[in-house]
């Protein structure tokens, strides 16, 4: 019983991270139709920002998280303006551009951080929350979980309660009809990638004290993000959040009872099964021609 409860807590925290970066990916794909392969590297840039400013130069953690969000958002906006917008009529070009950015960001990370071992960030919040004498949750993870939840809550409010959020959802549903309603597609695209990149930056910054930071850390992130996106339903934000929690729980429990290797295989199998049984994903909607 203790192991089950500990695994549920581990799964929920993991789900929070998965949701943060998967939602950003979904947002960018939904609005711009671009599969952003560099999304994992945006997470990596967020983590590196924390390593450079907090671990190397002693800048307090909270301001550094804000700076990481700003830095990654700026990169996202530059990608939109100079890569995705000029190639918006060719989805393949956008994809290839994002792969190019992926490599550029990896090389830049090597230039900034040098070669050698993965970077480590000492956790700003030391210690462990112990509940009922057996549930152990590091304060750093508790903090990250609540910030992730707050970030996703803010996104939900933005999408459902603000004019820009409505416009963004409209563009995600039908670009042409939205344009005919007077919505500025370029501006909305910029907001979408800005928000998506900001979430990636936040995820990277929060993960930094908990992960091995290296130029290639985005690789695992993007694979997880794709699985979550496909399971949740491509283009569905609520689906991505739900799938993130389901996938994290699934992966955590399989790891605990059958091992990490089996968990990886089963995670991919889960995606395949969803694609066979419900190709649109858990919350995706079939669009007729």
């Amino acid at each position: 019983m203790e192991l089950i409860l500990q695994s549920i807590v581990n799964g929920l925290i993991q789900g929070g991270f998965f949701a943060l970066f998967a939602v950003g990916l979904v947002l960018i794909f939904g609005v711009m139709g671009v599969v952003n392969f560099a999304h994992g590297e945006l997470v990596m840039v967020g983590a590196y920002t924390v390593w450079v400013l907090h671990a190397q130069n002693g800048v307090p953690f909270i301001p550094v998280v804000m700076i990481a969000i700003i830095v990654v958002t700026a990169i996202g906006l530059l990608m939109e303006r100079f890569l995705f917008r000029p190639t918006c009529n060719d989805p393949l070009a956008g994809l290839i551009c994002s792969i190019g950015i992926l490599f550029i960001l990896q090389v830049l990370a090597t230039v900034v951080g040098g070669d050698g071992p993965s970077k480590q960030v000492p956790p700003p919040y030391h210690g462990t929350l112990v509940l009922f004498d057996f549930l152990h949750v590091p304060y750093q993870r508790v903090f990250s979980f609540f910030i992730s939840a707050a970030g996703l809550g803010t996104l939900w409010y933005f999408l459902t309660r603000t004019k820009f959020g409505w416009a963004l959802r409209a563009v995600a549903q039908d670009r042409e009809a939205s344009a005919l309603q007077g919505i500025n597609i370029n501006r909305i695209s910029m907001i979408a990638i800005g928000v998506g990149a900001a979430l990636a930056g936040l995820a990277g910054a929060l993960m930094a004290p908990l992960a091995n930071i290296n130029p290639h850390m985005g690789h695992n992130v993007i694979i997880t993000a794709f699985i979550v996106t496909i399971v949740g339903g491509v283009g569905s934000l609520s689906g991505a959040v739900m799938a993130a929690v389901i996938y994290a729980m699934f992966h955590t429990f399989i790891t605990v009872y059958f091992g990490g290797v089996i968990a990886t295989i089963c995670g991919l199998l889960l995606m395949v099964v969803v694609l066979i049984i419900k190709p649109t994903g858990i919350m995706g909607v079939k669009v007729s021609e």
């Binding site: 993991q14 070669d115 050698g116 071992p117 290639h216 695992n220 790891t255």
Partner: protein
């Protein structure tokens, strides 16, 4: 004799040119001095860089010291040593490319490598070119890999010394879990050795948890193995010692921790606490350890080397920082004995020495029992424990004694994990 203005100018100019040439020539032209190139085909970027780059830094320190002292006399020639490196980033294609460059273009006399799939990829080349090649993984040795030797690290055999010491000093520890990455070159080799060592020590292994390289969160893995209530948590050449230690700390683990390596342990302390990391047992000393000053250690001024390394490269010390230099020192010994820098001659001289100078002493050629060829030097190996936040050697133990007694148990455990033995 009449000297014309033209003659004067001609002779003066010739004299000036000759004098200039003579004074400008390097001294070594007159002293029968040459340069011998030693190659390093290692990962200097990417995930494996910590087990490559610090070794190059270490070798450069040793080579600079030797060169500053006038070089090394091999046969009748005085040689300066030049390190030539190639970054293969642990990619087999690049490894072959680098090996060819070092051998064909740079004319190196030995190629030092990390080991694993990168060494397998150049084996045919090493054989064809008869190029002396070194590895840190003696499991790379096959009955046909005549030119591949492991003169320093006998990964992961030395892990048995840590288990032996643990069992003697903490007899109350009776159960263990092993966690590692599921690769054939590092994780499984190490896991099988630890399993054998625990079996010999009478410690029951209650779980072997193998994971891939795609793990982003170690909390579930640690929760899973801690549910077995182990007395000992063993990290078998894990690439993830920091996140594993972090999870052990947060999940309140109180038992003994044993690991093959504990590179960058200061970062682990920063992420957990000194009190938590204290007592962790592993196998790779810092070289400022006073225990390295005792007799039988074949490494010149280890404390000075450590100080110089950390001054030049403050954050780069890892397990390999002293290993590649120790191999370089072995080579120098072999070349001196051979009176030649030619790879086949040096290999012959090294192999003919039945009591080679192993870095920690007590060395002998070994390997045919496990891999079909005596091309690895095994000897004493240190058991290192973190004390007050610092790695300290507790004891040197004989690996050869353990192997002589327990080779069959080791082979059985290797076969159980599908590993190659003779």
């Amino acid at each position: 004799m009449k000297i014309t203005r033209r003659d004067f100018l001609k002779k003066t100019a010739t004299g000036v040119v000759l004098a200039g040439v003579a004074t400008g020539l390097p001294v070594n032209v007159f002293a029968n001095e040459k340069t011998v190139k030693i190659g390093m085909n290692i990962p200097m970027t990417g995930d494996y860089a910590p087990w490559g780059l610090p070794g190059l830094y270490g070798c450069e320190i040793i080579a600079d010291d030797i060169n500053a002292a006038g070089g090394v006399k091999i046969g009748n020639t005085n040689y300066k040593i030049e390190m030539v490196s190639f970054d293969h980033a642990y990619d087999t294609e690049k490894t072959i490319q680098g090996y060819k460059k070092l051998v064909l273009e740079d004319d190196v006399k030995m190629v030092m490598m990390l080991g694993g799939s990168t060494v397998s990829s150049i084996l045919p080349w090493a054989q064809r070119k008869k190029m002396l090649t070194t590895t840190l993984l003696p499991s790379d040795i096959t009955p046909k890999s005549e030119y591949v030797i492991a003169t320093c690290e006998s990964h992961p055999l030395y892990n048995v010394t840590g288990v032996e010491w643990l069992a003697e000093n903490f007899p109350e520890a009776k159960t263990a879990v092993i966690v590692t990455n599921n690769d054939v070159e590092w994780g499984l080799q190490s896991a099988s050795t630890y399993k054998a060592a625990f079996e010999v020590a009478g410690i029951k292994v209650v779980d072997v948890n193998l994971h891939g390289f795609d793990v982003t969160d170690f909390a579930p893995i640690v929760s899973s193995v801690l549910a077995k209530k182990p007395d000992i948590f063993c990290m078998a050449t894990s690439f993830y010692t920091t996140p594993l230690m972090e999870q052990l700390y947060h999940q309140g683990y109180k038992g003994k921790i044993i690991s093959c390596t504990l590179d960058y342990y200061n970062e682990i302390i920063a992420k957990t606490s000194k009190e938590f990391v204290n007592g962790t047992i592993f196998q790779f000393p810092d070289f400022d350890d006073p225990a390295l000053l005792q007799e039988g250690i074949h490494f010149p001024d280890p404390n000075g080397f450590d100080a110089k390394f950390r001054k030049n490269h403050p954050n780069d010390w890892s397990a390999v920082a002293w290993e590649y230099p120790a191999i370089l020192l072995n080579w120098i010994e072999g070349a001196k004995a051979a009176g030649s820098v030619e790879p086949t001659e040096v290999l012959k001289a090294l192999k003919s020495n039945k009591k080679p100078n192993f870095v920690f002493g007590g060395g002998r050629w070994w390997g045919s029992e496990l891999w079909g060829l005596d091309n690895a030097i095994v000897g004493r190996w240190p058991v290192v424990v973190i004390e007050d936040g610092k790695a300290r050697i507790k004891e040197f133990r004989s690996l050869t004694d353990w192997l002589d007694k327990n080779n069959d148990i080791l082979k059985k455990n290797m076969k159980a994990l599908g590993l190659r033995t003779v």
